[in-house]
Amino acid sequence: MTLVLRLVFSVLILCSATTSFAEPVRIQLWHQMIYSHRQVLSEALRQFEKENPDIVIRETYRETEELRSSYQAAAMGNSGPELVFGPSDQIGPFATMGIIQPLDGLLSPEELAQYDPLALPAYEGRHYMLGGTVGNHLMLLYNKKLLPTPPQTTDELIHLGQKLTADLDGDGKIDRYGLVFNYTEPFFFAPFIPAFGEPFMTADFAPRLAQPGLSKTFQFILDLRDKYKIIPKECDYETANALFKQNKAAMLINGDWSWGDYRDAGVDFGIARIPMVSSTGKWPSPLVGTVGYSLNAHFQSPAHKEAALKVLRYLTSASVQKLFTQKVGVMPSLLSLRADAVVKQNPLLQASSSIMAVGLPMPVVPEVRGVWDSLRIQYQKVLAGTLNAEQGAQSAQAMAEAQIQNMNQVIPPDAGALVVKGLVGLLILVLLYLSRNSVVLFFRGFRGPQKFVYFMMLPAFIGIFAVIIYPFFYNIAISFSNFSLRTFQDWSIVGFHNYWEAISDPKFYSLLLKTVVWTVVNVAFHVTLGVFLAVIINQLMPAKAFWRTLLIIPWAVPQYITALTWRGMFNQEYGPINQFLQKFLHLSPVQWLSQPFTAFVACIVTNVWLGFPFMMIVALGGLQAIPQSLYEAAYLDKANAWQRFRHITLPLLAPVMIPAALLGSIWTFNNLNVVWLVSNAGEPGDQTHILVSYVYKAAFNLYRYGYAAAVSVLIFLMLVIWSLSSLRSQYKKETQA
C-alpha cells in the first residue's frame, strides 16, 4: 500500500514540477471578448511576445458570467490569472471581495490622466480598471435601405415603426418589424428610465425604481408590443440580431460591439441616438462604460507583477488601441488618439460620440447587481402580464432593497455559533468513542482473512472520499457561516442564521413544491414512456436492435447540447416547434419561453426527452428476464393483453424499475443543466427555478455562499430521508414476498 501511495505521490510531484520549470514568466489573461475582438487581442499579444521573449501570455476566453464566477473561485484558492478583462460593473464586487487591486499606486497620475475618465471607473475613490476602449453603450441602428433618416422622437419612432411593420407576403404573419431589440433585458430598456423620469440609482447608489419613470418605461414597452405592435411578441438578443441581419427589421437597439457583425453581414446601416421621448422632451441615456483590464490582488512573485503591469501598459497603449479601432471600430480610450485619422475618418465613431454625449456612466458598485436582477425579474412579470406597470415598479424597488440588504449583510456570530461549534466537537467525540472498536477492527481487517476484500474495496473508496468528503464538510461549515460578498476573505461561523432564513422564507416552500412537481412529472414520464416503449419493442416489433438504437439517441447527446438545442427549438419566432404548430396545425405561435408556465413545460419536455431512453433500456433488460412460459400459461387461461401486463409484466418489472426510478428521482431533483440552460437562468422573472438552480443563483450571482450552502444541506437531508424511506419500504416488500 505504502509503495502505491509513494508512487502516486511521486507522479503527482513530477507533474507539478514540470509545470513550474518554464523559464519565461507566464502571465494569464482571462477575458470575455467576442469572437472578432478575440482575434485582434491574440494578434496583439503574439506581437508582444515577439518583442518580449521573457514573457509568455496565455489568454483564456470565458463567457461574462462564467468569467466572474470562475475568477472568484480561483481567487479563493489564492491563484487565478494575473490580468482579468471584463465590463466595468465587475469591479465593484471584485474590489469588495479584495481580489483585484487598485491601480493608483502602480500607474502614475500623469499616466492615468492620458485616458478618458470613462475608461477609469472609480470605486470608493480608487481605480481598479483601465479600459482600452470607451463606449459599450446602446444606440439606435437603422437599416438605410428601409428608412433613410432615423426618427428623432418616440412619436416618430412609433409612426415609422407602424409603417414599416408589415406582412409582406400576405400569409397573416408579420415578416418585417419596425423595431427589434432584446427588450426583456433591463440593460436594453434602462436608457428610457431617466428619459421618462429620473436615473434609476441615486447619487449615493441606492435604487430609485419606485418612480413614475420606471412604470412609464414599462408601459411604453408594453405599448410598443401590444398597442402599436411594432416589436415582436418575444425577442431575445439572438432573434433581434437575426431579424436585423436579414433586413426583416428596420430599426434595432444594440451596442457598439455589434457593428462589425452587421458590416460583415452586408447590412447598410446607420446609427443614431435612441429617439427623444416625446412626452418629456428628454433623450434616453444609454449607460456608457468601458471594458477593461484589472490586476489580481495576489501575484506569485514580483516578476509576475512587473510582467503583468507591462502587459497592461501594452494592451492599453496607443498602438494596440489603434489596432482595435482599425479592425473592429471601437472608440479608443486614449485622449490623444481621438484626433487621429482612424477615429476622425470613421463616421460611426463620430456619430457614436454624439450618442455618448447624452449617456450616463455605468454604475460599478456591487449593489447595481441587485438592481438589475430585481428589475429583470419584475419586468418579465410585467411582460408576462402577471403585474401591471405600476405594481412592477413598486415591487422592483422592494426587491432591489431586499437584495442589496442581503448582499451587504454581515451577520455577526451569535450564541448559535457556540452551539454549532460545541455540537460539532461533541459529535466528533461521540463518533470516535462509538467507533473505537470498529476502527481497530477495520485496520485489523487488513491482516485477517478479509484482507482480499479490503484491498479490492479501498482504491475506489479512497478516490470517492478524497473527492467528495472534503467538499461536503466544507459546505456544511460554510452553511453555518456568514460567507458572502463582504466576508469573502474572512468568513466565520455564525450559527443557524442561514438555516433559519431558508426555512422561514415562504419562497423556499414554493420552490420545494415546484421541485417535487418537476421530479414527479419527469420521473413519471420517464418510467411510463420507458416501460411502454420497451414493451412494444420487446413484444411486437421486428428489428428490435434498430428501434432500440434509434430511441437511445437522446441519451447519447451531451446534456448541454440538448438543452441549448431545445431552447432554440422553443424560440417563438424561429423555433421549429412554433413553425410546426403554425404550418400543420394552424395554431397561433406560443410564447414558450416568456410565460412562466410554458417555460416550465419547455424544461420538462426537454428533460423527458433526455431521460426516457435510460428507463427504456432498464425496462428492456427487465423484460428479457421474464420467462416466456408465464405468458404462455396466461394465454391458456385466456388472460387479455392488459391482464397479462397487469399481473405478469408489472410485478416482475417492478423490482428492476424501482431502484432505477429512485436513482432517476435523485438525479432529476438535482438537475441544474436543463432548467438553467433552457430557461436561461430562471426566466421569465425567476419563475422557472427549482431548488438547485435557486441555490446556484444565490451562490454565484448574488454571492450568498453561506445561504446557498445551507439550502444545499437541506436538499441533501431531504433526499437522504426520501431515499432511506423508499429503500426501507421496498426492502420490506421484497422480504415479505
Binding site: 463567457e63 437575426a242 435523485i666 421484497e734 422480504t735
Partner: protein, 272 residues
C-alpha cells in the same frame, strides 16, 4: 391488427421525437454564415454548405480539443472500470463491517447539489497544484462516475451464481485469480456499461473542466465549444457543427454496444 398499427404509430412518433433535435442541429450546422434563425422547417436546402465544418477543422483548435478529450476520457474510463469492478465485487460477495453504510453512502453522494462542490474542488486542486493539469480531472471524473458504476456493477455480480467461484476455488484458484479469470469475463456486459458511463461523464462534462483547465492548450471539447458562444454574439453555425461532431463518437459507442446495454444494465433489486 389494431394493436400492430398502434405500436408502429407510437414507435414512429417517438423515433421522430428522439431524432428531430439532432436533425435540427444538423440543419443549423449546414446553414451558411451564422444563420441560426430561418423560418423554414427544411433540413437541407439549396443554401446548405459544409463551410462550418471546414472552418471548424481548419481555423479552430477543434482537433486539439478532440485529442485532449479523447485522452482524458480514455484514462478516466480505464480508471473507472478498474476501480468499479474490484470494489463492486467486494461489495457483492462479502459481508463485512460497514458494508451497508458504504452502499448507502454511494447513493448519498449523488444527493448533494453538485454545483456547491465546485468551490471546494477548486481549493483542493489548487492546494495540490493540480490546476491546469489532467490529473485533477482524472481524479474528479473517475470518482464522480464511480458511485453509479459501483452500484450497477454490484447489481450485476449479484446475478452471477456463487457456484461458479466455488468450483474455481476447488480447482485451486486464488481469490484474485477467481475474480480475474472467472468473474470478469462473464461480467463483460456490465463492464461495458461501466466503461460507457465513465466515458460519458468525462466526454461531456463542462463545469468542472472550466474550473480546472485554464490553458487553452488543454481545453476539452465542451470547453472549446463553449468558446463559440459569447454573451452577445454566438457563432451558432460553428457551435452546431461542433456539437454534432461531439455527439457522433458517443452515438457510435452507444450503437456498437447497444446489445450489451440491455443485458448489462441490471439495476438489481435492493435485497442484494
Amino acid at each position: 391488427m389494431i394493436k400492430r398499427i398502434f405500436a408502429w404509430l407510437s414507435l414512429c412518433i417517438f423515433a421522430v421525437f428522439s431524432l428531430y433535435p439532432m436533425l435540427y442541429v444538423l440543419s443549423v450546422s449546414l446553414r451558411g454564415d451564422n444563420a441560426f434563425q430561418t423560418q423554414s422547417l427544411e433540413i437541407f436546402s439549396s443554401q446548405s454548405t459544409l463551410k462550418n465544418f471546414v472552418v471548424l477543422f481548419t481555423e479552430t483548435d477543434f482537433l486539439l480539443w478532440m485529442r485532449n478529450s479523447l485522452f482524458i476520457s480514455a484514462v478516466t474510463t480505464l480508471l473507472g472500470v478498474a476501480l468499479a469492478s474490484t470494489s463492486a465485487y467486494a461489495l457483492s460477495r462479502h459481508r463485512f463491517r460497514g458494508r451497508n453504510l458504504m452502499l448507502f453512502s454511494l447513493l448519498a453522494s449523488q444527493m448533494f447539489p453538485a454545483t456547491m462542490l465546485i468551490l471546494p474542488f477548486y481549493i483542493i486542486l489548487a492546494k495540490m497544484h493540480l490546476i491546469d493539469n489532467f490529473w485533477g480531472l482524472f481524479l474528479i471524473y473517475s470518482s464522480t462516475a464511480l458511485p453509479f458504476c459501483i452500484w450497477q456493477m454490484k447489481a450485476y455480480y449479484d446475478t452471477i451464481p456463487k457456484e461458479l467461484e466455488e468450483a474455481a476455488v476447488l480447482d485451486g484458484c486464488s481469490r484474485w485469480m477467481t475474480f480475474y479469470k472467472i468473474i470478469l469475463p462473464v461480467s463483460s456486459p456490465a463492464l461495458v456499461i461501466t466503461a460507457l458511463f465513465s466515458f460519458m461523464t468525462s466526454w461531456s462534462e463542462y463545469v468542472i473542466a472550466a474550473v480546472v483547465l485554464q490553458d487553452p492548450e488543454l481545453y476539452t471539447l465542451p470547453l472549446g465549444l463553449r468558446s463559440f458562444q459569447a454573451s452577445l454574439a454566438t457563432q451558432w453555425g460553428l457551435y452546431a457543427a461542433g456539437a454534432l461532431i461531439v455527439s457522433v463518437p458517443v452515438l457510435i459507442l452507444f450503437i456498437s454496444i447497444s446489445r450489451y446495454l440491455v443485458s448489462g444494465l441490471t439495476m438489481g433489486s435492493v435485497k442484494g
